[in-house]
Amino acid sequence: MWSYSLKRAATTAVTLLAASVIIFAFIHIVPGDPIYVLLGDTATPDQIDALRHQLGLDQPIILQYLTWIGHVLEGNLGRSIFFQAPVLSVIADGAETSVLLATMTMIWVTLIGVPIGMIAAVRHGTWLDQGLSGAAMLMASIPTFWVGLYLILIFAAWLGWFPSSGYPSIFEGGVVNLRYLVLPSLALAAPNAALILRLTRASMLDVSREDYVRTARAKGIRPWQVVSRHILRNALLAVVSAFGFTFAALLSEAVVTETVFALPGIGRLVVQSILRRDYPVIQGVILVIVVVYLLINLIVDLSYRLLDPRVELQ
């Protein structure tokens, strides 16, 4: 188990390193002189000199990369042109919103997707199953921002049950402010819940075809016992390992959802930074998201292994 963990951690580190090279190169492949890319068009000569010195922009590219890595490890991700503040703090400001949004979404996805997927699997072949599977496929075909816009139209504009935009922090206004995240998280959850539903269903059906499930049935135990004791655990393993991938999809789609709902999160930050040409922020956000994504995948993978005694006992 330990040797496997170390191996996986090492692979992740290497992948991260390679990705960091690409992210570093980002500033240099964007059209324009890197200095102006980083400082914006209104940079003063003093700022230019300072930056040139700080980043060693006249050094060979490898040294620049290493300097950049060094800064990153210290927490220095550069300086936002628009905010005139460290990129890391700009990102940190948006972190609360995005993390809460992602968490709420994952909760919806799990609460909706898994049980309904199970029902569809157990009622395999019936109208209920076909209906649920069809509905799931339909949901997976709907763009999240369209769901978001409709939720705003119906629940915010017409019914007034939920606010349509913004998010005041729960640290200032209390937990009740979570209601600002209800509609956006539902919009994000919709297609992902559908995919988890289909995955749960497929996984359960696959496991139910295994020989040992047939053995279990032969013993004469009740169908629900067959499901809960033999099918569920093995089927859910496959679903859990898909959570990492789902999370990545969330990170991507949150970009659009935060824009639709004007949430002060990292996703909207990216979009605005693109429109404002605030390249240091773009680079910083991509780096942070990639790190988070790889870490989540690593954790999910290791816990998957933990749950499977075949690996544990080796």
Partner: protein
Amino acid sequence: MLSVRDLTVSLGPATAPVDIVAGVSFELAKGEILGLVGESGCGKSMTSLAVMGLLPQPGPRIRAGRVLLEGSDVTQLQPWQRVEAGHGRMAMIFQEPMTSLNPVRRIGDQIVEAVRVHDRVSGPPAIARARELLELVRMPDPAMQLSAYPHQLSGGQRQRVMIAIALACRPQVLIADEPTTALDVTIQVQVLGLLRELCNRLDMAMLFITHDMGVIAQLADRVSVMYAGRIVETAGVEALFGRPRHHYTRGLMDCMPSRNSGARRLPTIAGQPPAPGTVRAGCVFASRCAAVRELCRTAAPPRAEVSQGHEVLCAFPLDDGGSR
């Protein structure tokens, strides 16, 4: 003990069913071992699953016929329904011991699960019974094996566990679907010996399915030969091997290498078994039968009792001397 009458298993829509197993009938008396032989794809596994009530759903279903366990009709009932109705004393073991046990649960748990269903006990008495069952199947070090995981056991040991699980219901009938095919030859002998001994000791009837004629010769009391979803011949084991009356059975016997074969080329039966549903009239074996007549292709063959306890599905069976 076990009576199967005119069992028909089919696939496809109800308006146009495709029969994989058609009109299969046999009887199993207490303590008797009936061998069910046939080539791959002849429907013997499907028959055994249908008899056990384990047909996968959705999928093939019993379209006609009856399965009677000690006189009670259990035809369309799944195992758990049979247990509820009090007719749960039929068990089954399967071909692949490597995949037939749940890999993430301990052996003891899996045996206890079966014990709890049939003995209605749990806790220490159930565990004790599980251990007893492991001893019954001659498992070395039963106490330790209870807490083992399947992947820690060898193929032969896993098959013993399967048998132990099957014995938990104190079965009157044990269905064994090619239980030794996936095992090493040396282990095969042990497991077969174990099965034989258990049948004797526990007065348990066994339906033993295989494509290995050699195993049948040693193990079975009576044999039914299956071809393309139908039983073409049923007889006592000596009668079947010594005086086969169906042309297919005769062909099978001829195909078997023996000490007398010498360096001669082994005979074969030309052709392939027909796909289910493709033979609409006449005998299913007509296309490959050496003694085929016009009538064979148009009229379904009758089931004839050629001597005491010896039935053949043929209009023109071989005579007693084994030739035609």
